[in-house]
């Protein structure tokens, strides 16, 4: 089973490497959206410092939405998804591997570049690790929840918009806790609660999402 999971992760990373433009699009989108805010609201440092966590988190939500619709669509179109459902490995494990690969390609780069972007907002130095940790815990949850939406909207016409309507409301708790962790640290409050809740979301999503995704995929294949 582990061989199959390694193979799926390797395959998806390989495909992403050979289609680098798809990966770059989401990352550049993130960079541009975050950069638009200082230009739009003006160079008032206190205001920028205050809105920084929220802006970066909202941009991360939108950027992670961008690549979601591609998560299963290509495999669905060329018949690979059928083979995955009929595989000797449980479908839940295969989709978990796919989500891991998706996060490595579209979530991890956001986490790594966020501290650099935060400098535009003059976010205090001690807050940068907090922002990174909150994104590190939060973006995998976004991938897991988003994958459920992607599986449900597979093969539906206009699935891109439907996917956003379906998934964005579910992202709200992650957004509140993620941005809240940084804001709490900014005013000197204890933010352990926020981060622990984010970790709890991650554990919960990792446990239940693969099951929901595989059920949704089976329905989509009918």
């Amino acid at each position: 089973m582990l061989t199959a999971l390694r193979c799926v992760i390797r395959r998806d990373l390989l495909l992403a490497m050979r289609r680098r433009s798809d990966v770059a699009t989401a990352l550049l989108f993130f960079v541009i959206v975050v950069s638009l805010f200082p230009l739009g609201v003006g160079p008032e440092p206190n205001l920028l410092r205050e809105i920084a966590p929220g802006v970066i988190w909202v941009a991360a939500l939108l950027a992670s939405m961008l690549s979601l619709s591609r998560l299963f669509a290509a495999d669905f179109a060329d018949g690979t998804l059928e083979q995955m459902i009929l595989s000797a490995t449980p479908l839940g494990a295969i989709v978990a591997a796919k989500v891991v690969a998706h996060w490595l390609v579209s979530g991890l780069p956001l986490v790594l570049i966020a501290p650099v972007l935060a400098l535009q907002f003059d976010l205090a130095q001690p807050l940068l690790p907090v922002l990174t940790v909150s994104l590190l815990l939060g973006t995998p949850v976004l991938s897991l929840i988003g994958a459920i939406g992607a599986a449900l909207t597979l093969g539906v016409r206009g699935s891109g918009v439907l996917l956003s309507l379906l998934v964005l409301p579910l992202y709200v708790p992650v957004l509140i806790m993620g941005a809240g962790a940084v804001e709490a640290a900014a005013v000197g409050l204890d933010n352990a609660g926020h981060l622990l809740l984010l970790a709890a979301f991650l554990v919960g999503a990792a446990a239940f999402a693969p099951w929901a995704i595989s059920a949704a995929l089976r329905i989509s294949m009918e």
Partner: protein, 209 residues
């Protein structure tokens, strides 16, 4: 081993077939025939457990295939209508991935050997994008050379897009697999020279020969 009981399939508003029964033992070959749109692919997808029949059930060694899931996946090789070949991967990578999903751990040499055997020598390192339709079909079928142990093959139009030589090669593979005691279900428009033990004609009622 494989048993279908009172299958009914409805797509859209149309009933494609109903009251379909068959039983297939090891060492038997079943051909599903019928015009376009008569439900051949649907029947094969039901047999694999991808599609839920309106009525009836498919049983593998006495158990419903919908509850067996990956246990069934270990014993089944399904080559569908679509090739499941990724454009951005090379022929060898495609075969490796599809075999690994079937629960095998093929090494490089065996994959190359299989591609050689299906007539794709020299194409191992080419991206599938550069291959012709028939060659892509061969990549999908190369798995048959590596998954010889699976006791059930379900092949949807295996001969589509293949040239005469390749058709002969695949027919030989199927005969050899049946002789080994496995069950094979396939659809084909061509009047194949394979001696099928069962033929189902979906134009009307099922017939058993």
């Amino acid at each position: 081993m494989l048993e279908a009981i009172d299958l009914e399939c409805v797509r859209g508003e149309r009933t494609l077939f109903s009251g379909l029964n068959f039983a297939l033992r090891g060492g038997e070959l079943m051909r599903v025939a019928g015009a376009n749109g008569s439900g051949k692919t649907s029947l094969l997808r039901i047999v694999c457990g991808l599609l839920f029949p309106e009525q009836g059930s498919v049983r593998w060694r006495g158990e419903n295939v919908r509850t067996l899931r990956e246990e069934y996946g270990k014993e089944l090789v399904y080559v569908g209508h679509s090739n499941a070949v990724k454009d951005d991967l090379t022929a060898a990578e495609n075969v490796t991935v599809s075999c690994t999903l079937s629960g095998m751990e093929p090494d490089r040499d065996r994959v190359h050997e299989a591609l050689h055997g299906i007539g794709l020598a020299g194409c191992e390192g080419l991206p599938a994008r550069a291959l012709s339709q028939g060659q892509r079909r061969r990549v999908a079928l190369a798995r048959l050379l590596l998954c010889g142990h699976a006791p059930l093959w379900v092949l949807d139009e295996p001969f589509a897009a293949l040239d005469a030589q390749a058709i002969e090669r695949v027919q030989a593979l199927i005969s050899a697999h049946v002789a080994r005691g496995a069950a094979v279900v396939y659809t084909s428009h061509q009047e194949a020279r394979l001696p099928a033990t069962h033929t189902i004609n979906l134009a009307g009622a099922a017939s058993d020969r």
